[in-house]
Subunit: 309 residues, 2 copies
Protein backbone atom coordinates (compact mmCIF):
# COMPACT_ATOMS: atom_id res chain seq x y z
CA UNK A 1 0.00 0.00 0.00
CA UNK A 2 1.06 3.58 -0.71
CA UNK A 3 1.57 6.79 1.24
CA UNK A 4 1.02 9.70 -1.17
CA UNK A 5 2.49 13.18 -0.57
CA UNK A 6 0.47 16.05 -2.06
CA UNK A 7 2.26 19.40 -1.73
CA UNK A 8 1.48 21.18 -5.01
CA UNK A 9 4.01 23.85 -5.95
CA UNK A 10 6.41 22.67 -3.22
CA UNK A 11 8.14 19.86 -5.15
CA UNK A 12 11.49 20.22 -3.41
CA UNK A 13 9.91 20.01 0.03
CA UNK A 14 7.80 17.05 -1.06
CA UNK A 15 10.86 15.15 -2.31
CA UNK A 16 12.74 15.87 0.91
CA UNK A 17 9.79 14.65 2.96
CA UNK A 18 9.58 11.48 0.86
CA UNK A 19 13.27 10.80 1.42
CA UNK A 20 12.94 11.46 5.15
CA UNK A 21 9.93 9.12 5.36
CA UNK A 22 11.79 6.35 3.56
CA UNK A 23 14.72 6.87 5.94
CA UNK A 24 12.47 6.61 8.99
CA UNK A 25 10.58 3.53 7.74
CA UNK A 26 11.91 1.71 4.70
CA UNK A 27 8.74 -0.40 4.57
CA UNK A 28 6.49 2.47 3.47
CA UNK A 29 5.96 2.86 -0.28
CA UNK A 30 6.11 6.65 -0.62
CA UNK A 31 4.96 8.49 -3.74
CA UNK A 32 4.80 12.21 -4.56
CA UNK A 33 1.80 13.71 -6.38
CA UNK A 34 1.13 13.67 -9.32
CA UNK A 35 2.99 10.32 -9.53
CA UNK A 36 0.10 8.44 -7.89
CA UNK A 37 0.72 4.90 -9.17
CA UNK A 38 -2.32 2.68 -8.74
CA UNK A 39 -5.06 4.80 -7.08
CA UNK A 40 -6.42 1.68 -5.37
CA UNK A 41 -3.11 1.33 -3.48
CA UNK A 42 -3.25 4.76 -1.82
CA UNK A 43 -4.00 4.20 1.83
CA UNK A 44 -2.66 7.42 3.38
CA UNK A 45 -2.27 10.96 2.02
CA UNK A 46 -0.10 13.75 3.45
CA UNK A 47 -1.46 17.02 2.10
CA UNK A 48 -1.25 20.77 2.19
CA UNK A 49 -3.47 22.87 -0.09
CA UNK A 50 -4.35 19.80 -2.15
CA UNK A 51 -6.18 20.22 -5.48
CA UNK A 52 -9.95 19.94 -4.99
CA UNK A 53 -11.37 16.64 -6.09
CA UNK A 54 -8.34 14.44 -5.68
CA UNK A 55 -9.29 12.96 -2.30
CA UNK A 56 -12.22 11.20 -4.01
CA UNK A 57 -9.89 9.31 -6.35
CA UNK A 58 -8.61 6.76 -3.83
CA UNK A 59 -11.19 4.09 -2.91
CA UNK A 60 -8.99 2.56 -0.18
CA UNK A 61 -7.93 5.81 1.49
CA UNK A 62 -8.00 5.44 5.29
CA UNK A 63 -6.01 8.38 6.67
CA UNK A 64 -5.19 11.95 5.62
CA UNK A 65 -2.48 13.90 7.46
CA UNK A 66 -2.32 17.65 7.12
CA UNK A 67 1.27 18.77 6.57
CA UNK A 68 1.13 21.41 9.31
CA UNK A 69 -1.27 22.42 12.05
CA UNK A 70 -4.23 23.67 9.99
CA UNK A 71 -6.86 21.18 8.77
CA UNK A 72 -9.66 23.43 7.51
CA UNK A 73 -8.81 22.49 3.89
CA UNK A 74 -9.31 18.81 4.80
CA UNK A 75 -12.35 18.72 7.08
CA UNK A 76 -14.24 20.96 4.66
CA UNK A 77 -13.51 18.78 1.62
CA UNK A 78 -16.74 17.16 0.31
CA UNK A 79 -14.69 14.47 -1.50
CA UNK A 80 -13.39 13.03 1.74
CA UNK A 81 -15.48 9.95 2.69
CA UNK A 82 -16.81 9.82 6.21
CA UNK A 83 -14.74 6.83 7.20
CA UNK A 84 -11.38 8.50 6.48
CA UNK A 85 -9.48 9.66 9.58
CA UNK A 86 -7.78 13.09 9.62
CA UNK A 87 -4.70 14.02 11.67
CA UNK A 88 -2.64 17.18 11.98
CA UNK A 89 1.17 17.16 11.89
CA UNK A 90 2.59 19.37 14.59
CA UNK A 91 6.26 18.57 14.89
CA UNK A 92 8.15 20.08 17.83
CA UNK A 93 9.91 22.58 15.55
CA UNK A 94 6.57 24.04 14.46
CA UNK A 95 5.48 24.71 18.04
CA UNK A 96 8.93 26.06 18.97
CA UNK A 97 9.01 28.37 15.99
CA UNK A 98 5.59 29.73 16.86
CA UNK A 99 6.66 30.29 20.47
CA UNK A 100 9.76 32.18 19.34
CA UNK A 101 7.78 34.30 16.90
CA UNK A 102 5.18 35.38 19.46
CA UNK A 103 7.69 36.11 22.25
CA UNK A 104 9.69 38.21 19.77
CA UNK A 105 6.66 40.07 18.41
CA UNK A 106 5.61 41.01 21.94
CA UNK A 107 9.14 42.12 22.88
CA UNK A 108 9.75 44.15 19.71
CA UNK A 109 6.45 45.94 20.25
CA UNK A 110 6.73 46.70 23.96
CA UNK A 111 10.45 47.58 23.90
CA UNK A 112 10.36 49.62 20.71
CA UNK A 113 13.03 47.67 18.81
CA UNK A 114 12.28 49.63 15.65
CA UNK A 115 12.74 52.91 17.50
CA UNK A 116 16.20 51.80 18.68
CA UNK A 117 17.06 50.86 15.12
CA UNK A 118 16.07 54.35 14.00
CA UNK A 119 17.99 55.88 16.93
CA UNK A 120 21.07 53.94 15.85
CA UNK A 121 20.77 55.38 12.35
CA UNK A 122 20.84 58.83 13.96
CA UNK A 123 23.59 57.97 16.48
CA UNK A 124 21.17 58.74 19.31
CA UNK A 125 21.45 57.09 22.77
CA UNK A 126 17.94 57.26 24.18
CA UNK A 127 16.94 54.50 26.64
CA UNK A 128 13.19 53.96 26.96
CA UNK A 129 11.33 52.67 29.99
CA UNK A 130 9.01 49.71 29.26
CA UNK A 131 6.57 47.72 31.35
CA UNK A 132 8.12 44.98 33.47
CA UNK A 133 5.83 42.36 32.04
CA UNK A 134 2.74 42.08 29.87
CA UNK A 135 -0.61 40.37 30.30
CA UNK A 136 -1.15 38.20 27.22
CA UNK A 137 -4.38 36.46 26.24
CA UNK A 138 -3.79 33.49 23.93
CA UNK A 139 -6.81 32.30 21.93
CA UNK A 140 -6.43 28.56 21.43
CA UNK A 141 -4.60 26.22 23.78
CA UNK A 142 -3.66 23.37 21.43
CA UNK A 143 -0.11 22.20 20.86
CA UNK A 144 0.92 25.58 19.44
CA UNK A 145 -0.99 27.72 21.95
CA UNK A 146 0.38 25.91 24.96
CA UNK A 147 3.96 26.11 23.64
CA UNK A 148 3.47 29.85 23.16
CA UNK A 149 2.02 30.20 26.67
CA UNK A 150 4.98 28.37 28.24
CA UNK A 151 7.55 30.47 26.36
CA UNK A 152 5.80 33.74 27.30
CA UNK A 153 5.81 32.54 30.92
CA UNK A 154 9.54 31.77 30.73
CA UNK A 155 10.25 35.46 30.08
CA UNK A 156 7.94 36.64 32.86
CA UNK A 157 4.66 37.51 31.13
CA UNK A 158 1.26 36.77 32.64
CA UNK A 159 -0.60 34.45 30.28
CA UNK A 160 -4.31 33.71 30.10
CA UNK A 161 -5.29 30.89 27.76
CA UNK A 162 -8.73 30.95 26.18
CA UNK A 163 -10.32 27.86 24.68
CA UNK A 164 -13.62 27.12 22.98
CA UNK A 165 -14.11 23.95 25.01
CA UNK A 166 -12.97 24.76 28.54
CA UNK A 167 -9.86 22.62 28.15
CA UNK A 168 -7.22 23.09 30.86
CA UNK A 169 -3.47 23.28 30.28
CA UNK A 170 -1.05 22.63 33.13
CA UNK A 171 0.68 25.75 34.39
CA UNK A 172 -1.51 28.16 32.40
CA UNK A 173 -4.50 30.11 33.72
CA UNK A 174 -7.29 29.01 31.35
CA UNK A 175 -10.69 30.49 30.69
CA UNK A 176 -13.51 29.56 28.29
CA UNK A 177 -16.52 31.21 26.73
CA UNK A 178 -17.15 34.59 25.21
CA UNK A 179 -18.11 36.44 28.37
CA UNK A 180 -14.94 35.35 30.18
CA UNK A 181 -12.95 36.60 27.17
CA UNK A 182 -14.74 39.94 27.22
CA UNK A 183 -13.89 40.14 30.91
CA UNK A 184 -10.11 39.83 30.44
CA UNK A 185 -9.63 41.76 27.18
CA UNK A 186 -9.84 45.21 28.83
CA UNK A 187 -6.79 44.39 30.99
CA UNK A 188 -4.77 42.48 28.38
CA UNK A 189 -1.76 44.15 26.78
CA UNK A 190 -1.60 41.55 24.03
CA UNK A 191 -4.08 39.26 22.26
CA UNK A 192 -2.71 36.32 20.25
CA UNK A 193 -4.89 34.29 17.85
CA UNK A 194 -3.80 30.67 17.51
CA UNK A 195 -7.23 29.10 17.01
CA UNK A 196 -8.07 26.44 14.48
CA UNK A 197 -10.16 27.79 11.62
CA UNK A 198 -13.76 26.57 11.88
CA UNK A 199 -17.17 28.15 11.18
CA UNK A 200 -17.22 29.15 14.90
CA UNK A 201 -13.84 30.89 14.85
CA UNK A 202 -13.95 32.48 11.39
CA UNK A 203 -14.13 36.28 11.69
CA UNK A 204 -13.56 36.10 15.46
CA UNK A 205 -11.17 39.09 15.32
CA UNK A 206 -13.91 41.56 14.54
CA UNK A 207 -15.21 44.97 15.53
CA UNK A 208 -17.01 43.68 18.61
CA UNK A 209 -13.94 41.91 19.99
CA UNK A 210 -11.63 44.83 19.23
CA UNK A 211 -14.00 47.21 21.07
CA UNK A 212 -13.28 45.30 24.31
CA UNK A 213 -9.51 45.60 23.93
CA UNK A 214 -7.34 47.94 25.97
CA UNK A 215 -6.28 51.24 24.43
CA UNK A 216 -2.87 50.91 22.82
CA UNK A 217 -2.75 47.13 23.09
CA UNK A 218 -1.35 44.68 20.53
CA UNK A 219 -3.11 42.00 18.48
CA UNK A 220 -1.07 39.19 16.89
CA UNK A 221 -2.69 36.96 14.26
CA UNK A 222 -0.76 33.74 13.69
CA UNK A 223 -3.87 31.57 13.21
CA UNK A 224 -5.41 31.96 9.76
CA UNK A 225 -6.19 34.98 7.64
CA UNK A 226 -9.91 34.22 7.82
CA UNK A 227 -9.93 34.74 11.60
CA UNK A 228 -9.59 38.47 10.96
CA UNK A 229 -12.17 40.87 9.56
CA UNK A 230 -9.77 43.15 7.75
CA UNK A 231 -11.98 46.25 7.51
CA UNK A 232 -12.81 45.99 11.22
CA UNK A 233 -9.10 46.00 12.08
CA UNK A 234 -8.50 49.18 10.09
CA UNK A 235 -11.38 50.90 11.92
CA UNK A 236 -10.22 49.59 15.30
CA UNK A 237 -6.63 50.79 14.81
CA UNK A 238 -7.96 54.24 13.98
CA UNK A 239 -9.30 54.55 17.54
CA UNK A 240 -6.36 52.75 19.15
CA UNK A 241 -8.10 49.56 20.30
CA UNK A 242 -5.82 47.77 19.55
CA UNK A 243 -2.97 50.22 18.99
CA UNK A 244 -0.94 47.85 16.81
CA UNK A 245 -1.31 44.61 14.86
CA UNK A 246 1.31 42.00 13.95
CA UNK A 247 0.02 39.80 11.13
CA UNK A 248 1.65 36.69 9.69
CA UNK A 249 -1.40 35.23 7.90
CA UNK A 250 -3.84 36.77 5.44
CA UNK A 251 -7.06 35.96 3.59
CA UNK A 252 -5.10 36.11 0.36
CA UNK A 253 -1.46 35.02 0.34
CA UNK A 254 0.80 36.45 -1.01
CA UNK A 255 -0.85 39.63 0.36
CA UNK A 256 -1.82 41.62 -2.77
CA UNK A 257 0.58 44.44 -3.61
CA UNK A 258 -2.14 47.09 -3.40
CA UNK A 259 -3.51 45.93 -0.02
CA UNK A 260 -4.02 48.69 2.59
CA UNK A 261 -2.15 46.68 5.25
CA UNK A 262 1.25 47.11 3.56
CA UNK A 263 1.46 50.83 4.22
CA UNK A 264 -0.48 51.04 7.49
CA UNK A 265 1.78 52.56 10.18
CA UNK A 266 0.21 50.43 12.95
CA UNK A 267 0.51 47.09 11.15
CA UNK A 268 3.60 44.87 11.04
CA UNK A 269 3.56 42.24 8.30
CA UNK A 270 5.53 39.01 7.98
CA UNK A 271 4.94 36.68 5.00
CA UNK A 272 3.56 33.53 6.74
CA UNK A 273 6.89 32.59 8.33
CA UNK A 274 6.00 32.47 12.04
CA UNK A 275 6.63 28.73 12.17
CA UNK A 276 8.14 26.31 9.71
CA UNK A 277 7.58 22.56 9.64
CA UNK A 278 10.75 20.50 10.01
CA UNK A 279 10.49 17.74 7.35
CA UNK A 280 12.58 15.42 9.52
CA UNK A 281 10.47 15.90 12.67
CA UNK A 282 7.26 15.76 10.63
CA UNK A 283 8.32 12.54 8.89
CA UNK A 284 8.77 10.83 12.25
CA UNK A 285 5.25 11.73 13.34
CA UNK A 286 3.79 10.76 9.93
CA UNK A 287 5.58 7.39 9.95
CA UNK A 288 4.37 6.80 13.51
CA UNK A 289 0.78 7.41 12.39
CA UNK A 290 1.28 5.03 9.44
CA UNK A 291 2.42 2.41 11.98
CA UNK A 292 -0.49 3.10 14.33
CA UNK A 293 -2.96 2.92 11.44
CA UNK A 294 -1.81 -0.60 10.66
CA UNK A 295 -1.52 -1.67 14.30
CA UNK A 296 -5.03 -0.38 15.03
CA UNK A 297 -3.71 2.01 17.69
CA UNK A 298 -4.98 5.53 18.52
CA UNK A 299 -3.60 8.10 16.04
CA UNK A 300 -1.43 11.07 17.08
CA UNK A 301 -3.03 14.54 16.81
CA UNK A 302 -6.29 13.13 15.47
CA UNK A 303 -8.87 15.67 14.35
CA UNK A 304 -12.54 15.49 15.31
CA UNK A 305 -14.02 15.99 11.83
CA UNK A 306 -17.41 17.00 13.22
CA UNK A 307 -15.88 19.69 15.44
CA UNK A 308 -13.45 20.72 12.72
CA UNK A 309 -10.17 20.56 14.69
CA UNK B 1 19.98 52.26 62.23
CA UNK B 2 19.76 53.51 58.66
CA UNK B 3 19.54 52.00 55.18
CA UNK B 4 21.02 54.50 52.72
CA UNK B 5 20.14 54.51 49.00
CA UNK B 6 22.88 55.85 46.72
CA UNK B 7 21.72 56.18 43.10
CA UNK B 8 23.35 59.40 41.90
CA UNK B 9 21.54 61.01 38.96
CA UNK B 10 18.53 58.68 39.38
CA UNK B 11 16.67 60.64 42.07
CA UNK B 12 13.20 59.61 40.96
CA UNK B 13 14.10 55.92 40.99
CA UNK B 14 15.79 56.32 44.38
CA UNK B 15 12.69 57.95 45.87
CA UNK B 16 10.45 55.21 44.48
CA UNK B 17 12.74 52.54 45.90
CA UNK B 18 12.71 54.29 49.29
CA UNK B 19 8.90 54.36 49.27
CA UNK B 20 8.73 50.70 48.24
CA UNK B 21 11.19 49.71 50.98
CA UNK B 22 9.15 51.58 53.62
CA UNK B 23 6.01 49.86 52.34
CA UNK B 24 7.64 46.43 52.60
CA UNK B 25 9.10 47.03 56.07
CA UNK B 26 7.97 50.09 58.01
CA UNK B 27 10.66 49.41 60.61
CA UNK B 28 13.58 50.35 58.33
CA UNK B 29 14.79 53.95 58.49
CA UNK B 30 15.41 54.64 54.79
CA UNK B 31 17.40 57.65 53.56
CA UNK B 32 18.38 58.74 50.05
CA UNK B 33 21.88 60.12 49.32
CA UNK B 34 22.99 62.86 49.82
CA UNK B 35 20.61 63.09 52.82
CA UNK B 36 22.80 60.80 54.95
CA UNK B 37 21.72 61.82 58.46
CA UNK B 38 24.21 60.66 61.08
CA UNK B 39 26.96 58.71 59.27
CA UNK B 40 27.39 56.50 62.32
CA UNK B 41 23.83 55.24 61.91
CA UNK B 42 24.34 53.91 58.37
CA UNK B 43 24.35 50.12 58.58
CA UNK B 44 23.40 49.16 55.02
CA UNK B 45 23.89 50.90 51.66
CA UNK B 46 22.06 50.15 48.39
CA UNK B 47 24.22 51.51 45.58
CA UNK B 48 24.70 51.80 41.85
CA UNK B 49 27.65 53.81 40.48
CA UNK B 50 28.26 55.37 43.89
CA UNK B 51 30.68 58.33 44.19
CA UNK B 52 34.17 57.08 45.03
CA UNK B 53 35.13 57.62 48.64
CA UNK B 54 31.71 57.60 50.24
CA UNK B 55 31.77 53.99 51.42
CA UNK B 56 34.56 54.92 53.83
CA UNK B 57 32.37 57.50 55.60
CA UNK B 58 30.22 55.05 57.56
CA UNK B 59 32.07 53.42 60.48
CA UNK B 60 29.21 51.01 61.28
CA UNK B 61 28.51 49.87 57.72
CA UNK B 62 27.86 46.10 57.63
CA UNK B 63 26.25 45.41 54.25
CA UNK B 64 26.31 46.92 50.74
CA UNK B 65 23.74 45.80 48.16
CA UNK B 66 24.35 46.50 44.51
CA UNK B 67 21.17 47.82 42.87
CA UNK B 68 21.34 45.37 39.98
CA UNK B 69 23.39 42.33 39.07
CA UNK B 70 26.84 43.90 38.59
CA UNK B 71 29.11 44.36 41.62
CA UNK B 72 32.46 45.28 40.05
CA UNK B 73 32.08 48.88 41.29
CA UNK B 74 31.71 47.57 44.86
CA UNK B 75 34.24 44.74 45.15
CA UNK B 76 36.89 46.96 43.57
CA UNK B 77 36.29 49.88 45.96
CA UNK B 78 39.35 50.40 48.24
CA UNK B 79 37.17 52.32 50.75
CA UNK B 80 35.09 49.26 51.58
CA UNK B 81 36.39 47.64 54.79
CA UNK B 82 37.06 43.93 54.72
CA UNK B 83 34.31 43.08 57.17
CA UNK B 84 31.50 44.59 55.05
CA UNK B 85 29.35 42.03 53.21
CA UNK B 86 28.35 42.62 49.57
CA UNK B 87 25.18 41.29 47.90
CA UNK B 88 23.74 41.65 44.42
CA UNK B 89 20.07 42.46 43.82
CA UNK B 90 18.64 40.29 41.08
CA UNK B 91 14.87 40.61 41.23
CA UNK B 92 12.85 38.23 39.06
CA UNK B 93 11.98 41.03 36.61
CA UNK B 94 15.69 41.62 35.88
CA UNK B 95 16.27 37.99 34.96
CA UNK B 96 13.02 37.83 32.95
CA UNK B 97 13.89 40.99 31.05
CA UNK B 98 17.31 39.62 30.18
CA UNK B 99 15.77 36.34 28.99
CA UNK B 100 13.31 38.21 26.77
CA UNK B 101 16.04 40.43 25.33
CA UNK B 102 18.33 37.54 24.39
CA UNK B 103 15.56 35.35 22.91
CA UNK B 104 14.44 38.34 20.83
CA UNK B 105 17.94 39.28 19.70
CA UNK B 106 18.54 35.71 18.50
CA UNK B 107 15.18 35.57 16.70
CA UNK B 108 15.50 38.96 15.02
CA UNK B 109 18.94 38.00 13.75
CA UNK B 110 18.20 34.49 12.50
CA UNK B 111 14.76 35.32 11.02
CA UNK B 112 15.76 38.62 9.45
CA UNK B 113 13.14 40.80 11.14
CA UNK B 114 14.76 43.93 9.76
CA UNK B 115 14.61 42.51 6.24
CA UNK B 116 10.85 41.90 6.59
CA UNK B 117 10.44 45.45 7.81
CA UNK B 118 12.23 46.69 4.71
CA UNK B 119 10.18 44.32 2.52
CA UNK B 120 7.00 45.76 4.04
CA UNK B 121 8.14 49.29 3.12
CA UNK B 122 8.46 48.05 -0.46
CA UNK B 123 5.20 46.01 -0.40
CA UNK B 124 7.23 42.87 -1.10
CA UNK B 125 6.07 39.37 0.01
CA UNK B 126 9.28 37.37 0.28
CA UNK B 127 9.31 34.50 2.81
CA UNK B 128 12.79 33.45 3.94
CA UNK B 129 13.84 30.02 5.14
CA UNK B 130 15.64 30.03 8.49
CA UNK B 131 17.28 27.34 10.60
CA UNK B 132 14.93 25.29 12.74
CA UNK B 133 16.88 26.01 15.90
CA UNK B 134 20.18 27.52 16.94
CA UNK B 135 23.04 26.32 19.14
CA UNK B 136 23.68 29.02 21.72
CA UNK B 137 26.64 29.23 24.10
CA UNK B 138 25.90 31.31 27.19
CA UNK B 139 28.95 32.58 29.10
CA UNK B 140 27.96 32.80 32.77
CA UNK B 141 25.35 30.62 34.46
CA UNK B 142 24.32 32.81 37.38
CA UNK B 143 20.74 33.94 38.00
CA UNK B 144 20.62 35.82 34.71
CA UNK B 145 22.44 33.24 32.60
CA UNK B 146 20.27 30.37 33.78
CA UNK B 147 17.07 32.36 33.13
CA UNK B 148 18.33 33.08 29.62
CA UNK B 149 19.19 29.40 29.07
CA UNK B 150 15.73 28.26 30.18
CA UNK B 151 13.95 30.76 27.92
CA UNK B 152 16.10 29.83 24.90
CA UNK B 153 15.26 26.18 25.62
CA UNK B 154 11.54 27.02 25.77
CA UNK B 155 11.66 28.13 22.13
CA UNK B 156 13.65 25.08 21.02
CA UNK B 157 17.26 26.23 20.93
CA UNK B 158 20.16 24.03 22.04
CA UNK B 159 21.92 25.77 24.91
CA UNK B 160 25.41 25.18 26.28
CA UNK B 161 26.21 27.04 29.50
CA UNK B 162 29.83 27.94 30.23
CA UNK B 163 31.05 28.82 33.69
CA UNK B 164 34.39 29.81 35.20
CA UNK B 165 33.91 27.43 38.13
CA UNK B 166 32.39 24.27 36.70
CA UNK B 167 29.04 25.04 38.32
CA UNK B 168 26.11 22.94 37.05
CA UNK B 169 22.61 24.22 36.32
CA UNK B 170 19.69 21.82 36.19
CA UNK B 171 18.37 21.20 32.72
CA UNK B 172 21.28 22.94 30.96
CA UNK B 173 24.32 21.29 29.41
CA UNK B 174 27.21 22.97 31.23
CA UNK B 175 30.90 23.13 30.44
CA UNK B 176 33.85 24.86 32.11
CA UNK B 177 37.33 25.99 31.21
CA UNK B 178 38.85 27.66 28.21
CA UNK B 179 39.59 24.57 26.15
CA UNK B 180 36.00 23.29 26.46
CA UNK B 181 34.83 26.72 25.30
CA UNK B 182 37.16 26.66 22.32
CA UNK B 183 35.75 23.22 21.52
CA UNK B 184 32.12 24.36 21.23
CA UNK B 185 32.57 27.81 19.67
CA UNK B 186 33.15 26.48 16.12
CA UNK B 187 29.67 24.87 16.15
CA UNK B 188 27.80 27.63 18.00
CA UNK B 189 25.45 29.90 16.06
CA UNK B 190 25.26 32.39 18.92
CA UNK B 191 27.55 33.42 21.80
CA UNK B 192 26.00 35.37 24.70
CA UNK B 193 28.14 37.12 27.33
CA UNK B 194 26.47 37.32 30.75
CA UNK B 195 29.57 37.03 32.90
CA UNK B 196 30.30 39.09 35.98
CA UNK B 197 33.05 41.62 35.36
CA UNK B 198 36.27 40.56 37.12
CA UNK B 199 39.98 40.76 36.25
CA UNK B 200 39.59 37.22 34.83
CA UNK B 201 36.65 38.07 32.55
CA UNK B 202 37.64 41.58 31.45
CA UNK B 203 38.48 41.61 27.71
CA UNK B 204 37.26 38.01 27.33
CA UNK B 205 35.51 38.87 24.03
CA UNK B 206 38.77 39.35 22.18
CA UNK B 207 40.51 38.47 18.93
CA UNK B 208 41.49 35.00 20.12
CA UNK B 209 37.96 34.05 21.16
CA UNK B 210 36.40 35.51 18.00
CA UNK B 211 38.83 33.49 15.85
CA UNK B 212 37.22 30.26 17.19
CA UNK B 213 33.70 31.38 16.29
CA UNK B 214 31.71 30.01 13.40
CA UNK B 215 31.57 32.01 10.17
CA UNK B 216 28.45 34.19 10.13
CA UNK B 217 27.59 33.60 13.79
CA UNK B 218 26.21 36.15 16.27
CA UNK B 219 27.75 37.55 19.44
CA UNK B 220 25.51 39.25 22.04
CA UNK B 221 27.11 41.29 24.83
CA UNK B 222 24.73 41.92 27.71
CA UNK B 223 27.41 41.61 30.41
CA UNK B 224 29.56 44.72 30.73
CA UNK B 225 31.22 46.93 28.16
CA UNK B 226 34.65 45.98 29.51
CA UNK B 227 34.12 42.34 28.53
CA UNK B 228 34.61 43.38 24.92
CA UNK B 229 37.79 44.48 23.17
CA UNK B 230 36.21 46.93 20.77
CA UNK B 231 38.95 47.03 18.14
CA UNK B 232 39.10 43.23 18.07
CA UNK B 233 35.36 43.08 17.34
CA UNK B 234 35.70 45.43 14.38
CA UNK B 235 38.52 43.27 12.95
CA UNK B 236 36.58 40.06 13.60
CA UNK B 237 33.41 41.33 11.89
CA UNK B 238 35.48 42.22 8.83
CA UNK B 239 36.24 38.50 8.32
CA UNK B 240 32.78 37.31 9.37
CA UNK B 241 33.67 35.57 12.66
CA UNK B 242 31.25 36.54 14.11
CA UNK B 243 29.04 37.85 11.32
CA UNK B 244 27.02 40.15 13.55
CA UNK B 245 27.09 41.69 17.03
CA UNK B 246 24.23 42.82 19.27
CA UNK B 247 25.54 45.13 21.98
CA UNK B 248 23.62 46.56 24.93
CA UNK B 249 26.59 47.59 27.10
CA UNK B 250 29.65 49.68 26.30
CA UNK B 251 32.92 50.81 27.87
CA UNK B 252 31.60 54.35 27.81
CA UNK B 253 27.87 54.95 28.24
CA UNK B 254 26.18 56.84 26.63
CA UNK B 255 28.13 55.49 23.65
CA UNK B 256 29.97 58.54 22.26
CA UNK B 257 28.32 60.08 19.21
CA UNK B 258 31.41 59.64 17.03
CA UNK B 259 31.95 55.95 17.98
CA UNK B 260 32.54 53.57 15.04
CA UNK B 261 29.89 51.12 16.36
CA UNK B 262 26.96 53.44 15.57
CA UNK B 263 27.35 53.18 11.82
CA UNK B 264 28.73 49.65 11.53
CA UNK B 265 26.37 47.58 9.32
CA UNK B 266 27.02 44.38 11.32
CA UNK B 267 26.41 45.89 14.77
CA UNK B 268 23.03 46.36 16.43
CA UNK B 269 23.03 48.80 19.35
CA UNK B 270 20.58 49.17 22.22
CA UNK B 271 21.21 51.74 24.96
CA UNK B 272 21.67 49.50 28.06
CA UNK B 273 18.01 48.48 28.24
CA UNK B 274 18.23 44.68 28.04
CA UNK B 275 16.88 44.31 31.57
CA UNK B 276 15.38 46.79 34.00
CA UNK B 277 15.23 46.37 37.77
CA UNK B 278 11.72 46.39 39.20
CA UNK B 279 11.89 48.68 42.28
CA UNK B 280 9.07 46.72 43.92
CA UNK B 281 10.68 43.32 43.41
CA UNK B 282 14.11 44.70 44.33
CA UNK B 283 12.77 46.29 47.51
CA UNK B 284 11.47 42.93 48.71
CA UNK B 285 14.86 41.31 48.27
CA UNK B 286 16.66 44.26 49.87
CA UNK B 287 14.30 44.27 52.88
CA UNK B 288 14.77 40.51 53.20
CA UNK B 289 18.55 40.98 53.35
CA UNK B 290 18.11 43.75 55.97
CA UNK B 291 16.10 41.26 58.03
CA UNK B 292 18.64 38.47 57.54
CA UNK B 293 21.50 40.80 58.49
CA UNK B 294 19.84 41.47 61.85
CA UNK B 295 18.75 37.87 62.38
CA UNK B 296 22.27 36.60 61.65
CA UNK B 297 20.99 34.46 58.74
CA UNK B 298 22.72 33.74 55.42
CA UNK B 299 22.30 36.66 52.97
CA UNK B 300 20.58 36.33 49.57
CA UNK B 301 22.81 36.60 46.48
CA UNK B 302 25.93 37.17 48.57
CA UNK B 303 29.10 38.02 46.66
CA UNK B 304 32.46 36.39 47.33
CA UNK B 305 34.57 39.55 47.51
CA UNK B 306 37.80 37.64 46.94
CA UNK B 307 36.45 36.03 43.79
CA UNK B 308 34.74 39.22 42.68
CA UNK B 309 31.19 37.91 42.06
Amino acid sequence: MTLLIVLPGREEEADRLAADLRAVDGGIEVRVWPDVGDPEHVEMVVASRHPRGILGLFPNLRLVASFGAGVEHLVGDPDLSEGVAVVRTVDPALANGMAEYVVTAVANWRRGTKVYSHDQDLGRWRPQIYGLSATVVVLGMGRMGSAVARALGAVGHQVIGWTMTGRLVEGVECIAGRSALNGVLPVADVLVCLLPLTPDTEDILDRELFSSMKKGSLVINVGRGAHLVEDDLIEALAIGRPGHAVLDVFREEALPTDHLFWTHPAITITPHVAALTDPRGASERIAENWRRLHAGEALLDRVDRGRGY
